[in-house]
């Protein structure tokens, strides 16, 4: 059994190891390793399209994860104060947001937004005082919104789980000792759920940063890093993609490790 498990781990990490190895390849060809070099990192980071896509992805991931962390935490707190029936409705919707395939989320958001803009743009044009009304279109906003949906559901679930195991006695003790609700929240509830919020943020960031299929539909004229990488792969694999993939892998691994570590912080010390 140990041999089998070892083989499975090798299977999981062999392709990742190859990408990392070939990102340091001196030669252009993917098939033979001709020597150690970091030139492809230089090529990747001086490619304006690639850098632009990377910046877009960072911006979108940060914004949608922040949005998800704030709204998702608020939702989890709100859900701890409602009846079973309301809760069931929210649980079902959040579950759907997580489970419905990305490709369906992508197309349905595309369809809905295109229809919505079709109504809103003429309306904006009619009420706008001058000749240049803002034109709503697909782009940053729609990607952030679509990623925010999955991420918010994820954060709500993670924070909700932490709230369910919150030590209620502390909360009651605090209010028995005449702490105001806000003080109790700040000094008892918030510190206890903070690791879950941070972990939720990090997972949401990673999800958004890595997502291809949802962004593919709602990106409009924008390019995110996965969209750029996908297009490059279809044109033929280039070594600079290995370099950027390695950077992204290392960053993702760091974030996930950080998220796991945060989730394991049982009782914050203060």
């Amino acid at each position: 059994m140990r041999a089998f498990v070892t083989a499975v781990f090798a299977f999981l990490y062999l392709p990742i190891a190859l990408v990392v190895l070939f990102s340091f390849n001196a030669g252009r060809h993917a098939s033979e390793f001709t020597g150690f070099s970091v030139q492809w990192y230089g090529t990747a980071l001086s490619n304006p399209f690639l850098v632009e896509a990377l910046k877009n992805s960072l911006f979108i991931a940060t914004t949608s994860a922040l949005l998800a962390a704030v709204c998702g935490t608020a939702a989890a707190l709100g859900l701890s104060r409602v009846g079973l029936r309301t809760r069931a409705v929210f649980d079902a919707l959040m579950g759907a947001a997580i489970v419905v395939p990305g490709v369906v989320i992508g197309i349905s958001t595309l369809v809905a937004l295109v229809q919505l803009f079709g109504v809103l743009n003429p309306f904006l044009a009619s009420i706008w005082p001058d000749d240049q009304p803002p034109r709503l279109s697909l782009g940053y906003g729609s990607i952030i919104a679509a990623h925010g949906l999955f991420s918010m559901a994820l954060v709500t679930m993670i924070v909700g789980t932490r709230l369910a195991s919150l030590d209620r006695n502390l909360v009651e003790a605090s209010s028995d000792l005449y702490a105001t609700p806000l003080t109790t929240f700040r000094s008892i509830v918030l510190p206890q759920i903070m690791p879950a919020v941070v972990a939720g943020f990090l997972l949401a960031f990673t999800f958004s940063f890595d997502d291809f299929i949802v962004a593919f539909f709602v990106a409009g004229a924008q390019t995110t890093l996965p969209i750029y990488v996908f297009a490059s792969i279809r044109r033929g694999v280039t070594p600079e993609i290995n370099a950027i993939a390695t950077i992204v892998l290392v960053a993702s691994v760091l974030l996930v490790v950080l998220a796991q570590w945060q989730l394991r912080q049982r009782k914050p010390s203060n």
Partner: protein, 296 residues
């Protein structure tokens, strides 16, 4: 509900309590309505419409799009075949790993090994899948095989390559729920079974496997549902030869712009997913009577 936590905010009157609850839930509600419920209604409406001559949507009420579904029969067939087969292959590889992690691995290694399982899941599927394009491509394994005398092996752009990509991509998602259910397993039951004279094999069948079935069902249904909407793996490793429903949807929405037909396919896809989820839930409660295992 949750009197203790509610008490935090209970100092005000009932109205203030409700107002705060509503404020806390408002952003998430708005998001769910605008970006989940409305879009879903939109594709439901589109699916009974017609394609406008220049592409896009034209209002109508017809079931023609649904009647036309057989036009994409190959995509449905590939998906319906490879999703369960892929999920099953995933399960067969994942179960021993989860078993080892939960019951056999040395304590100090357990968390590290578990992290090693989780990390690939949270890194880009795109980046992980494209590495296989090298390995299976003409200069990868086929070149090695040619070196030892086995010529003309084609691996990439075959259903087998797609299946391999599926197992590779979704293995972590299968291992995790099984691990959780095995880890919660009461070890005393295993001892009791052995003390009562059961062979290790019948202990495994009667106790371990049976009690881990909820985790197995969670993993299986999750992987299966995600596979139903898969796009990247068949595109990169199937090379346009192994079409999935996801490929049909990308084609219909972004290339041929037949939105009503695409919507009908999407609705069908969601319906199939719901059926799979309900079936999995039924089976899992029937087999064990236990609660389903939460993934996160």
């Amino acid at each position: 509900m949750s009197a203790g936590l509610g008490a935090v905010f209970m100092h005000g009157n009932r109205f203030r309590h409700n107002l705060l609850t509503a404020l806390l839930l408002a952003p998430a509600t708005a998001w769910l309505v605008v970006f989940l419920v409305l879009p879903f209604i939109a594709i439901a409406v589109f699916s009974v419409g017609e394609r406008a001559p220049e592409g896009g949507y034209q209002a109508a009420f017809t079931l023609a799009q649904y009647a036309n579904l057989p036009a994409r029969a190959t995509a449905f067939w590939n998906t319906m075949m490879l999703a369960p087969v892929g999920a099953l292959a995933c399960l067969l590889v994942a179960y021993p790993v989860a078993y080892y992690l939960a019951l056999k691995a040395p304590q100090r290694w357990r968390l590290i090994l578990l992290a090693l399982v989780v990390i690939p899941f949270w890194t880009s599927l795109l980046m992980r899948t494209y590495a296989w394009m090298y390995i299976l491509g003409g200069r990868g394994i086929p070149a090695l095989l040619a070196f030892v005398g086995i010529e003309d092996v084609r691996l990439i752009n075959t259903p087998g390559a797609v299946l391999l990509g599926i197992v590779y991509g979704y293995l972590p998602l299968m291992i995790l729920p099984i691990y959780v259910s095995l880890e919660r397993l009461d070890r005393r039951l295993l001892e009791a079974s052995a003390d009562l004279g059961a062979t290790p094999f019948s202990t495994f069948l009667g106790v371990t496997l049976k009690l881990s079935l909820p985790g197995v069902m969670t993993g299986f249904s999750l992987v299966m549902i995600l596979l139903l909407g898969e796009y990247l793996i068949p595109t990169l490793l199937g090379g346009g030869k192994v079409f999935f429903i996801g490929n049909a949807l990308v084609d219909l929405f972004l290339q041929s712009r037949n939105w009503p037909f695409g919507s009908a396919i999407a609705i069908t896809l969601v319906a199939v997913s719901v059926v799979v989820l309900i079936a999995a839930n039924r089976i899992s409660t029937r087999v064990s009577g236990a609660r389903r295992v939460d993934l996160i």
